[in-house]
Symmetry: C2
Subunit: 323 residues, 2 copies
């Protein structure tokens, strides 16, 4: 908004590469005691959906974005990484992006400190931007607050067979959607959009985040077939109640008995199969689909053709994950 002239414009094409490079640099520009951990993280690569959404939301008719959007996107990915590192402690997860998690490789204690460190790195990365976009800092803090509240709600409802759809949606609105909304909000803000447009894209980001998480929940059930061969951590075994299970329990209340108690791998596989058979996964995917539709409707209101295209293409990628 203010001082837009301070940020040169660069092509959207190649921007993701620049973001990844900035992220890699940030993860290596670290003092020795932390470097092992951050370098380990630099060796894993995510799909960078949040960065991609930020970049697309920042793009203009001419296919360029403000240079600042690269920094903001790298900071969002750093923030995402910080939440993942702490998530792995919270969920006791041994793998992340196909590699050992920081928690499993370096221990819980080190993972707590590493996550804190990455939060700070993120804040330091945006400190230059914050001079031009004064609310950005507060927005990041506010988004992380929402993520924390979502995580805490999830913890509180661990093993809760009575969790309702409504409450569950509230959990993931915090846990996942807050960061997606922040990404789109930041992109639009950096691009100098008027407030109405910024808010509209933030809302679209929220819907995309909801679809994204619900799809994750489905994938967790759909990959249960292999569980007897290679026991992996999964929601059901951990007592984490997600949408497919909630919907299946509504069909067959006897399933509630299994929630929150210790399950054998065989039981986990059997219950997962039932959740699928009862339509829990299919119906969750339908809900995710509706969130995608809501996002598409908002994105369709974008007058800038290039940006509309970019955002719809990304939405399709997330939709494909859905089907």
């Amino acid at each position: 908004m203010e001082n837009m002239e301070n940020s040169a414009r660069v092509p959207l094409e190649g921007a993701l590469g620049a973001v990844r490079e900035a992220l890699r640099r940030a993860l290596h520009d670290v003092q020795p005691p932390m470097l092992d951990l951050t370098a380990h993280l630099a060796g894993t690569e995510g799909k960078n959906f949040r960065a991609l959404l930020l970049l697309a939301a920042a793009s203009g008719e001419d296919g360029t974005i403000p240079q600042d959007a690269i920094t903001a996107a790298a900071a969002i990915e750093l923030l995402h990484l910080a939440t993942l590192v702490h998530d792995d402690v919270i969920d006791d997860a041994d793998e992340r992006r196909g590699k050992p998690s920081v928690k499993s490789r370096f221990g819980n204690k080190a993972a707590v400190v590493c996550g804190d460190y990455l939060f700070c790195k993120c804040f330091m990365m945006v400190s230059e931007l914050a001079k031009r976009y004064q609310d950005q800092y507060e927005l990041i803090a506010r988004a992380v607050t929402k993520i924390c509240l979502g995580e805490m709600r999830q913890l509180r409802h661990n093993g809760d067979a009575a969790l309702t759809v409504r409450r569950y949606l509230k959990i993931i609105a915090g846990k996942t959607s807050a960061l997606f909304a922040l990404s789109m909000y930041s992109g639009a803000l950096l691009s100098g959009d008027e407030p109405l447009r910024v808010r509209r894209l933030a809302r679209a980001g929220h819907y995309i985040g909801m679809a994204f998480q619900l799809t994750d929940d489905c994938l967790d059930y759909e990959t249960q077939g292999d569980i007897l061969k290679k026991p992996v951590k999964n929601d059901l075994a951990e007592g984490v109640v997600t949408m497919p299970l909630i919907l299946a329990m509504a069909e067959k209340p006897e399933l509630k008995e299994a929630v929150g108690r210790e399950l054998t791998p065989r039981e986990v596989a059997e219950i997962a199969a039932q959740v699928v058979a009862l339509g829990g996964v299919r119906r969750t995917r339908a809900v995710a689909q509706r969130y995608c539709d809501k996002a598409a409707k908002l994105i369709a209101q974008e007058t800038d053709g290039r940006r509309r295209e970019e955002l719809l293409a990304l939405l399709e990628k997330i939709r494909v994950r859905v089907y």
Copy 2:
């Protein structure tokens, strides 16, 4: 510095009460899933040394401080609380300020999320200030980065009988002193001091933090007498190597054998007694004393009589903890 006129001045007397009130409000202005945890924290009261140092560093000849200093001091205490909550996860501590720690009361996972949440609350609290003092945000992030690096160094040297004095001082310069330095820096900055004076007080804060931590290390050894009656978590039992032990090991290398291995409560008590007998505690206190002297020397350069008095009085409180 900029826009100082935006902050009214209030008396230094009573400011600590206002800080505690702001802190209590912040800990209660929290959504339900987190409220149990933050309300639990609000029920414990610390000595608020960091807030007191900030307020004193912000005070003027007329015994007033800028209103903003109240907010900044509450934010510093919130940040301190966030680090304590995560520390208790890292150190596996069951008690904090005479009450059960968040970790022991609500579990490790909840404590990780709670600490993250408090970090964000702190950032949100300073977001108003940050509009007037643009570097403040970055400074907080930078200080927490140092704390994280200190924590990680400490973890890395857990059970390390070869830890040197020099390395140990580097650990605590991060772990503890960074926040003390930030407190004094912030106070002076909010007060509109010129850069040289701000840096001098930040340096004094660093020395005070070093003295504070070294004293803590001594207290940990001095309270070991009761360990057979009531087993408490302590540095030695946890494999945390601190200054008194380093100095004692230099006198009697056989002590190294005990570092990093499982110790019975009786062994812990015996080794602690040896550390005291070998002068480890006395000599650590002497080092702490030298840091106090260094701080006093810098504080003596303050031209403002009232502020000098306030800061020296606080330093004496920390010195008394020393002896």
